[in-house]
């Protein structure tokens, strides 16, 4: 019962935050007019306002919620599975793979026609993330899902490899360095409806799968031996969980670039609210991540209008001190590893 209340509260807070985010932007539109436009009474109001609200602000805010949510749930899954509080989904090679894919697209086809939906760079980022994550799993070898640290090491090694290739490509394509850098810093500025659809189609199912496997993560997070004892096939379960984590995270990164700290930070913050049941953690973290990224993106686009700050910078600036405070506060309990 309590969980349902928290979910309902989450929905309300998220809705309020989305409304707030939609109300503010670099272009000032009076609140009554926003409500008129949202309720379909836009008679006599400027066409550009409708375009700004319906085609830019609303899809962008929804995309922020979907990206933030899935990054946070990915953090819950990886931290639980790897039994490591510093884990985050990017460690699977997803962000470096996506960045490599995007870099190749920017360098190889700088004026290539944009494909419907994700666009060329987004598509390349998604493919890059999936290919590199798969490589990380393969490189970790047979023991990958038996000994999670093998997987982490493999992820870190391949992330360095990807970064080296990106730098190499930048060295030979200096004129594209800025585009590559700004893509990497993360931004939701190009998130339209097609990207919202794409995000919904992948991240919502993957979050539902993770939430439904919450009990399994509970067991795996206490060690694989106990999982065996309970009749689970831990390696197979781990593979399924990580595959869905990777899929959801890759979809997010393809849209927004690698926005940092959400996957690492939100699960820790949410753990403060209650016990370590992973089903609850997944759901609560989804709301936490969604709310946080909507607010971070609001800050990114309204701190110095009409200019924007890459949202990844905002999440890192807010996230780092928050995480430190959290870590100090929890020192006595030593429960950061949930």
């Amino acid at each position: 019962m309590k969980e349902r209340k928290i979910s309902i509260a989450g929905i309300f807070v998220l809705a309020a935050v989305i409304l707030l985010a939609v109300s503010y932007g670099s272009v000032r539109i009076p609140l009554p007019d926003i409500i008129s436009i949202l309720t379909g009474n836009s008679e006599g109001l400027p066409e550009t306002w409708k375009l700004i609200l319906w085609r830019i602000r609303i899809p962008r805010t929804l995309a922020a919620a979907l990206v933030g949510g899935v990054l946070a749930t990915g953090g819950v899954a990886t931290q639980g599975l790897f039994r490591n509080p510093l884990s985050e989904p990017y460690l699977l090679g997803i962000s470096s793979g996506a960045a490599l894919g995007a870099t190749i697209a920017i360098v190889a086809a700088p004026s290539f026609l944009s494909a419907a939906g994700l666009g060329v760079i987004g598509t390349a980022a998604f493919l890059g993330a999936m290919v590199v994550t798969f490589t990380v799993f393969i490189a970790a070898g047979k023991g990958a899902f038996k000994l999670p640290s093998t997987l982490l090491l493999s992820g870190i090694a391949i992330a360095f490899l990807c970064q080296a290739v990106i730098w190499l490509l930048m060295t030979y394509n200096r004129d594209q360095v800025e585009r590559i850098t700004f893509w990497t810093l993360g931004s939701l500025s190009s998130a339209g409806w097609s990207k919202v659809l794409w995000l919904s189609a992948i991240t919502i199912p993957s979050t539902i799968v993770l939430a439904s496997m919450g009990r399994v993560i509970d067991v795996l997070s206490t060690g694989y031996d106990s999982a065996h004892g309970l009749g689970l096939r831990p390696q197979r379960s781990a593979a399924v969980i990580l595959a869905f984590t990777a899929l959801g995270t890759a979809a997010a990164v393809a849209v927004s670039g690698s926005i940092g700290f959400i996957g690492l930070m939100v699960p820790h913050a949410v753990r403060l609210l209650g016990g370590p049941s992973h089903r609850k953690l997944v759901i609560r973290s989804w709301f936490g991540g969604a709310i946080l990224l909507v607010l971070a993106d609001l800050a990114a686009r309204t701190i110095n209008p009409p200019g924007e700050i890459p949202v990844g910078i905002v999440t890192a600036l807010l996230g780092a001190p928050f995480l430190l405070i959290l870590a100090r506060g929890k020192k006595g309990e030593g429960r950061l590893d949930g």
Partner: protein, 286 residues
């Protein structure tokens, strides 16, 4: 910014026997016993200037960015603007190395320590800055000030002609200048940039004139509803087919035009043509 002082060792302009002295942007005194017969250029604008003066054959080295005129491709590259390869430059043994904007002091120090004669030449961001800060001193170094004066005169004529066209404009179209867009955010030239100044001079109104710096937003572009959009070449096909951008009035009306940004941002001989192109583009929506 310091403009070079013109002090000639001889009355004979253009004589290759003359000793040449000038001050560069770091306020360093540069002395050459005679006109430079071999040059390494560390800036696209300098490379363009050397070619425009008719001395492309004296270039021993250029940077990776020096892509104009096409003949520049056959000159050996010595690396990037900020990190030129010192060994290659020393091995080329030029009479002088000429650098310009984006050239860091550390690179200068390293080149000087390696015994190279280096001049860092850049003017204020204006036509006059390009004339006095780049074209005239480069022509002096090459021992052909007359070619420099001729180039400046032809640029001035191009600018004057363009300004005369601007005087005939009946209105001031709003303009948005694309530096970057899409996944990495929207970037333009704010009111405190030379590009923005050029747009205003060319008879346009920069919709980003109120910002300083380069960061902008899609909302603000839609709200600005520009009459004309200026695009770098790489951006054109993507910009015109990306949702929301493709719905901008200027795109729908066919007023999203490619402009050679290098002609506008490089302090060199194409600045006047770049300005004329800008005037033409703005005139097309007048």
């Amino acid at each position: 910014m310091v403009l070079p002082a013109f002090a000639r060792g001889s009355d004979e302009a253009g004589s290759r026997r003359a000793a040449i002295t000038l001050k560069d942007n770091f306020d360093r005194e540069i002395t050459l016993g005679s006109a430079a017969m071999t040059v390494v250029s560390l800036s696209p604008g300098i490379t363009e200037t050397v070619f425009a003066l008719g001395y492309g054959n004296r270039l021993l080295g250029r940077t990776d960015y020096c892509d104009y005129p096409p003949e520049a491709a056959s000159v050996l590259s010595v690396g990037s603007l900020t990190e030129p390869d010192i060994e290659t430059i020393v091995a080329l043994n030029p009479d002088i190395v000429i650098a310009s904007t984006h050239f860091p002091k550390e690179a200068l120090d390293r080149l000087v320590a390696a015994g190279e004669n280096v001049a860092v030449l850049m003017g204020q961001e204006s036509f006059q800055g390009a004339y006095d800060g780049v074209i005239r001193p480069v022509s002096l170094i090459l021992g052909d000030s007359e070619a420099g004066e001729a180039l400046v005169a032809s640029m001035e004529a191009t600018v004057d002609k363009a300004l005369a066209a601007v005087a005939g404009f009946t209105r001031t179209p709003s303009v948005y200048y694309v530096v970057g867009f899409g996944e990495g955010g929207d970037w333009t030239a704010g009111g405190n940039t030379f590009i923005s100044e050029m747009i205003e001079m060319a008879g346009g109104k920069n919709i980003a004139a109120d910002i300083s710096g380069w960061s902008f937003s899609l909302e603000a572009i839609v709200d600005g509803n520009p009459d004309l959009i200026l695009l770098p070449g790489w951006a054109e096909p993507i910009f015109k087919t990306t949702p929301v951008y493709s719905d901008l009035r200027a795109v729908k009306e066919g007023h999203a035009i490619v402009i050679d940004e290098n002609a506008i941002v490089r302090q060199g001989p194409r600045l006047a043509e770049g300005f004329a192109d800008l005037v033409n583009a703005i005139g097309s929506v007048n």
